[in-house]
């Protein structure tokens, strides 16, 4: 299924924050995780992910550090900050409002 661009953009921030809340991660792994969690429904492009990551970093919601990967390469990891955790909580509440509203209308239709 093709999820609309707007929806992908809107859901990018909470998804990234939620993944980083589980544990620190890096670009390639985040894309794989999103694909896995959405059962191959959400395919993110790198051109979209990295700018979002960098913007979140600028907003001080996450921070980055360089570390060695298993193969010994330099890899840029991202870690969620306290501000990011509270932002995630806020987004979760917002999404729940939308979700429960939608759920009610859809259950009526059936």
């Amino acid at each position: 299924m093709n999820v609309s661009k707007d929806l992908i953009a809107a859901s990018a921030t909470p998804l990234i924050l939620a993944i980083l809340k589980e544990n620190d991660s890096y670009g390639y792994a985040i894309i794989k995780r999103v694909k896995e969690m959405s059962e191959n429904q959400l395919i993110w492009t790198e051109g979209m992910l990295y700018p979002v990551l960098h913007r979140l970093e600028e907003q001080q919601l996450i921070e980055s550090y360089w570390n060695k990967s298993e193969a010994g390469r330099q890899r840029k990891y991202y870690r969620i900050k306290d501000a990011g955790l509270s932002e995630l909580e806020l987004q979760r509440q917002q999404w729940e409002v939308v979700h429960s509203a939608l759920a009610k209308t859809w259950s009526k239709e059936e």
Binding site: G27, Y28, E46, G47, H54, E58, Q74, K76
Partner: protein
């Protein structure tokens, strides 16, 4: 044979050339590409298949680059000074700045030293001394800067410093008699010769390679562009200094003349060298952009000049000054052609600028031919003088350079050789310039009895 490392390298070079990425961004994307490739190889694909698919998945570079530009525009200048990613690079950039400061101070002080021995700027006869030696005060420091950066071995150090010392000895031991023709010629050619020596220090071990030399040609162009900018800054700062101290009735001009101008000039040169080296691969080169803007304009002017000259039947080469102006213009045209070539990707098919370049070369070739005949005329009419012989040599060399380029361009357009051949020929031709400047600087004075 598919070489994965080379391919990844050229992919990241391509990103770098876009100019929207910081080095950190590129490392991050490269790591991503490698992850993707490794996964595909594990899944059973061959390296070349994996590379192609991964690059495709990473998206159109232009698209990615565009997205990055949104986040990174503010960095465009900032990231010249941004902290490098890993700590060795950080240390290195700190060391470079330290070197620049020390070398600028040393060069400035070196210029002041002769003043202690009665050869200050205002002393009689000192102007000859300074004009002759000015390149020797600064260029060795640039060479040293690059030899430190490139971790040159002892042999390179001793060779290059040896050349500088020998040049300094020769130029100062040679006597000189009025009207000082050979001395002036030496002073003009020595900086060019020594600049090529700096080139050897800049390129390092592979100083014979065409690619290394092309990089040095690019470096020279960027040095010119940045040098003008940095000097303008130093000039403005100097002007304000005099003005604000003047406002409180303190005359700063003596200080400016004695110290600011000298140290400022040395600092300008070294800072420029450092900046050009540091920004390499981060910001797109300026010289080729300027060259692309001005090469059509130069072409238009030169064509109309030739047409008018033929219609009116006037020869512009009767006066010596015009001849010199023409030589300078031809050298400039050669520069334009070179920088268009230098920014070109070897694999690209011929484009508009290649044809423009060929037209420019041909027209310059014709004008050079006219100038050459004028020089020959003057030689036969007024006899041989060092100036005329030098002009003759320079024009012949330019003619050779332009002719060779034109010929190779034609062969290339016919599809009979790769573009790389043009580049190789041009970089090889640097040897000719080297030999000629050396001949004028060191052999002419002997030939003409130091007059």
């Amino acid at each position: 044979m598919f070489d994965l490392e080379t391919q990844i390298q050229s992919w990241s070079d391509h990103l770098r050339a876009r100019g929207n990425f910081t080095d950190a961004d590129i490392s991050e994307l490269e790591d991503h590409l490698r992850d993707e490739i490794e996964d595909l190889i594990t899944a059973g694909l061959t390296p070349d298949e994996s590379f192609l698919i991964s690059v495709k998945r990473l998206g159109n570079v232009d698209e990615v680059s565009h997205e990055f530009a949104k986040v990174n525009t503010e960095n465009l200048w900032k990231h010249l000074f941004i902290e490098p990613v890993d700590s060795t690079a950080k240390k290195e950039s700190r060391r470079d700045i330290f070197l620049v400061v020390i070398f600028a101070l040393l060069a400035g002080t070196l210029i002041k030293i002769p003043g202690l021995f009665g050869l200050g700027f205002d002393d009689p006869g000192a102007d000859h001394f300074y004009i002759k030696n000015i390149s020797l005060f600064i260029l060795p420091f640039i060479a040293a800067f690059f030899m430190i950066k490139r971790k040159a071995n002892r042999k390179t150090w001793s060779t290059i410093l040896g050349v500088f010392i020998i040049a300094a000895l020769i130029i100062n031991i040679y006597p000189s008699f009025s009207p000082y023709n050979t001395e002036t010629l030496s002073s003009l050619h020595l900086p060019l010769l020594l600049w090529l020596i700096v080139g050897v220090a800049y390129i390092g071990k592979k100083w014979r390679s065409s690619q290394g030399r092309m990089n040095f040609i690019r470096f020279t162009g960027e040095m010119l562009v940045y040098g003008v900018l940095v000097s303008a800054g130093i000039f403005v700062l100097g002007g304000f200094t005099v003005a604000i101290f003047g406002a409180i009735q303190i005359d700063a001009e003596k200080f400016m003349e004695n110290y600011y101008v000298i140290y400022g000039a040395c600092a300008a040169v070294l800072i420029t060298a450092y900046l050009v080296e540091a920004k390499k691969s981060i910001v797109e080169n300026f010289a080729p952009i300027l060259a692309k803007i001005f090469s059509p304009l130069f072409l238009a002017i030169m064509v109309s000049f030739l047409v008018v000259m033929i219609i009116t039947g006037k020869s512009p080469f009767m006066e010596r000054e015009f001849l010199i102006a023409f030589d300078l213009m031809l050298a400039l045209v050669l520069g334009l052609v070179l920088y268009v070539i230098s920014s070109r990707n070897n694999q690209q098919p011929p484009n508009l600028f290649d044809y423009l370049n060929l037209a420019l070369i041909l027209i310059a070739f014709v004008i050079d031919g006219v100038a050459l005949s004028a020089i020959l005329f003057r030689l036969s009419a007024f006899g041989i003088t060092p100036n005329k012989l030098a002009a003759l040599g320079e024009n012949l060399i330019l003619l050779g350079n332009l002719g060779g380029l034109a010929w190779l361009y034609v062969v290339y357009f016919k599809g009979k050789c790769d573009f790389i051949k043009l580049e190789k020929w041009q970089t090889g031709y640097l040897n000719v310039y080297f030999i000629w400047t050396a001949v004028v600087a060191f052999i002419f004075p002997i030939l003409f009895g130091f007059y």
